[in-house]
């Protein structure tokens, strides 16, 4: 029984780390992986989703609806930012570093002034369950499954829906897509909003487990960027295996040597994977381009 519970504990940890990496990375994978925009304000979309979720939940709205509202709010914020700022930067994508950094500064500080340095959060739902000598949080055990559902939904969106075809066409060759009659500017806005909405969803999902401060988004940034870059340009087939590999390494190291080695090990793994596969993992799955 102890061996079984220890085994489950390892699986639980892996699922926890995997969910964190994948959910942190998805929004950024769409915006950076697909559009090439380096979005340093990714953390702020996450924060937006979390704050909206908490405010709605405290007003009495059921938690799943509150989370959806959080994601939608972040998506709307994404539309606004794309229209005002990002669309001027498509021919000079490196400058998106400065623009999104500036937006991140402004948003964080404004949130601090408007909402105060902290806000009372919400509790994690679903309680806990006991298995062997450990007790686990039910919600966190379910998070990896939610992450996989989100990935599945994204797959469906990109490969089975009209929007998906148009978006992939625009990413591959914007000029040709425009010649064929696609409204590329609308598509860019929609894609950016999708990325922002996914980030908001991450914030919403993690809101019951974390403290609500204006800088809460910065927790996710490093993990998001490394997962996206290691994964390469392909959102589904790149980011997911990248998150899985990084999660395995991080789980193993943290369990054996502690959190410090886990963190350092994660970063060193990133360096090694990039060194071994300079185009990112997604390339392994690319047949034609």
């Amino acid at each position: 029984m102890t061996a079984l519970s220890t085994l489950y504990s390892v699986i639980y940890q892996f699922g926890d780390n995997f969910a964190y990496l994948v959910l942190a990375a998805l929004g950024l994978a769409v915006i950076f992986g697909m559009m090439g925009v380096i979005n340093l304000a990714h953390g702020e979309f996450i924060m937006c989703g979390a704050y909206v979720t908490i405010i709605c939940a405290k007003r009495g709205i059921p938690l799943p609806i509150a989370m959806l509202l959080g994601a939608v709010a972040a998506a709307c914020a994404g539309v606004v930012i794309e229209r005002l700022v990002i669309r001027h930067l498509y021919d000079r994508l490196f400058d998106s570093v400065v623009a999104t950094w500036a937006i991140s500064l402004i948003v964080q500080q404004t949130m601090l002034l408007v909402a105060g340095p902290s806000m009372e959060g919400i509790s994690t739902p679903f309680g806990s369950f006991v298995f062997g000598e450990y007790s686990f949080s039910t919600y966190r055990a379910v998070l990896p499954i939610i992450a996989l559902c989100v990935l599945g939904a994204l797959y469906w969106l990109f490969f089975r829906s009209n929007y998906g075809v148009c978006a992939r066409a625009t990413i591959q060759n914007a000029n040709m897509a425009q010649c064929l009659g696609l409204r590329t500017d609308h598509l860019y806005t929609l894609t950016f909003a999708l990325g922002a909405g996914l980030a908001g969803l991450t914030g919403a999902l993690y809101a019951p487990t974390m403290t609500a401060v204006p800088t809460m988004g910065t927790n996710f940034i490093v993990q998001a960027f490394v997962s996206v870059v290691v994964g390469g340009a392909n959102v589904i087939a790149g980011t997911t295996p990248a998150a899985a590999i990084l999660a395995v390494i991080q789980t193993a190291l943290t369990a054996s040597y502690g959190q410090l080695i886990g963190q350092i090990g994660l970063l060193l793994t990133v360096i090694m994977v990039i060194r071994l596969m300079p185009q990112g993992l997604g390339n392994l799955f690319n047949r034609t381009r």
Binding site: D16, Q109, E133, V222, G258, Q259, G262
Partner: protein, 411 residues
């Protein structure tokens, strides 16, 4: 927006007071420089400090200032950034010519500006709890130190809950030194450390840590976690139903986690702090009334707010004793002893040898609904460790920080 209104109100009141003081006395103001983070990661805990300092300055100015001279508060927002601390402390010393400088939250920010203060022989007050050990002629500390917080907390918890202790601490100086103190006191009281984990400051996911604690089966957990990232531990351990009592020297009293997390995340958390908002004494209630009159929207009045408030009054007492603001004279007055003030936590006095402050230590117990009770109070706990290891600033000027594993050389 209310914060803006109170800010304008503050400006108007300060302007009015300053005008009246100047009109009445036409005296040269005493410049108090303040370096605190009004924005950035640390603002959560430091905004009450800034407000408390402003409250003390306004009160003193309303009563005529120090020796008839008004205090001019020159406050800069250091944005939780060490380089800003360095730049702005230079400005306070060289351009503004501050008579005294208060400030610093993280130990890194204090250590960044201590060399600058020392080079200029500038009087500097650090009004925050920390890992202890600063034996510096120019520095006075009103924050609580480990010997005051742990030597009271740990024996009490071991008596109540048992002798097996697990520590999780932030993986940097403060956490490591505090963990060392915990280890030593647990052993001295006949207990065992069943585990010790150090967590980097950027980590916010504690799944593995919670499993490790469950495996080790301690009687209680010492949580020495710092920062908003690490505070997520409390919600995560509650949702995993870890259900162990916790002890801390740094949570609740500084960053009011019991108000920021939904119950019962901090159930059975015991903290030793030199002040919390929930203290129900005449001095504390009067302080709270005045504080909330000026800042009605303050989320919490933490122990650092009390430290900062006391510091202004202690400085006033020292200047009055020295009859001058000359920094050497003020330092000598402080080192002569008997500089005390009656603050929100009662009477506190500067210890001349170590430049630290004696404290009333309150044992704070957070209950399941996050209400607070105070089962025990220790009066007049001295900062004895530095004296014990040989720090004697009136006789032996010094500029270093010592730790239990890096003691002053015996000479």
């Amino acid at each position: 927006m209310l914060p803006d209104m109170s800010r304008w109100l503050r400006i108007a009141v300060t302007a009015g007071l300053t005008c009246s003081s100047i009109a009445a006395l036409a005296a040269d103001p005493i410049k108090l420089g303040l370096l605190e983070d009004a924005s950035g990661n640390f603002a959560l805990a430091t905004i009450p400090k800034i407000h408390a300092t402003e409250l003390a300055v306004d009160e003193i100015n309303a009563k005529g200032g120090i020796m008839g001279r008004p205090i001019k508060l020159i406050a800069y927002d250091t944005q939780s950034d060490n380089t800003k601390f360095q730049e702005l402390s230079r400005r306070l010393i060289q351009t503004d010519k501050a008579d005294v400088i208060f400030g610093g939250f993280s130990s890194a920010s204090r250590e960044a500006i201590r060399p600058i203060m020392d080079r200029a022989h500038q009087l500097y007050w650090y009004n925050n709890q920390y890992e202890g050990g600063v034996c510096d002629s120019n520095v006075f500390v009103t924050g609580a130190v480990p010997e005051q917080q742990f030597s009271t907390l740990i024996p009490w918890m071991m008596q109540k809950y048992g002798k097996k202790v697990y520590t999780i601490a932030a993986d940097y100086n403060f956490g490591q030194i505090s963990a060392e103190w915990v280890r030593n006191i647990v052993k001295a009281n006949g207990g065992t450390m069943v585990g010790e984990e150090f967590i980097p400051l950027s980590v916010s996911q504690f799944g593995q840590t919670i499993q490790n604690i469950q495996k080790a089966k301690p009687d209680f957990v010492m949580t020495l976690l710092v920062g908003a990232n690490q505070a997520s531990y409390y919600e995560q351990q509650a949702s995993a139903h870890l259900n162990l009592p916790m002890g801390s020297s740094v949570n609740v009293g500084q960053a009011y986690e019991h108000k920021r997390f939904k119950a019962p995340a901090l159930k059975d958390m015991f903290v030793t702090a030199n002040y919390v908002e929930e203290v129900d004494s005449p001095a504390s209630n009067d302080f709270k009334k005045r504080f909330h009159a000026k800042y009605p929207n303050e989320p919490y009045i933490n122990q650092e707010a009390a430290n900062a408030y006391d510091a202004v009054y202690l400085y006033k007492a020292a200047v009055e004793k020295a009859k001058s603001t000359d920094q050497t004279a003020v330092r000598k007055a402080l080192e002569a002893g008997n500089i005390c003030t009656d603050g929100p936590s009662g009477k506190v006095c500067i210890d001349p040898k170590s430049h630290h402050l004696s404290h009333t230590i309150y044992l704070v117990h957070v209950k399941e609904d996050h209400s607070v009770e105070i089962p025990k109070v220790w009066d007049n706990v001295q900062p004895y460790w530095l004296d014990q290891v040989g720090c004697n600033l009136p006789l032996k000027p010094d500029h270093r920080q010592y730790t239990p594993s890096s003691l002053p050389s015996k000479s």
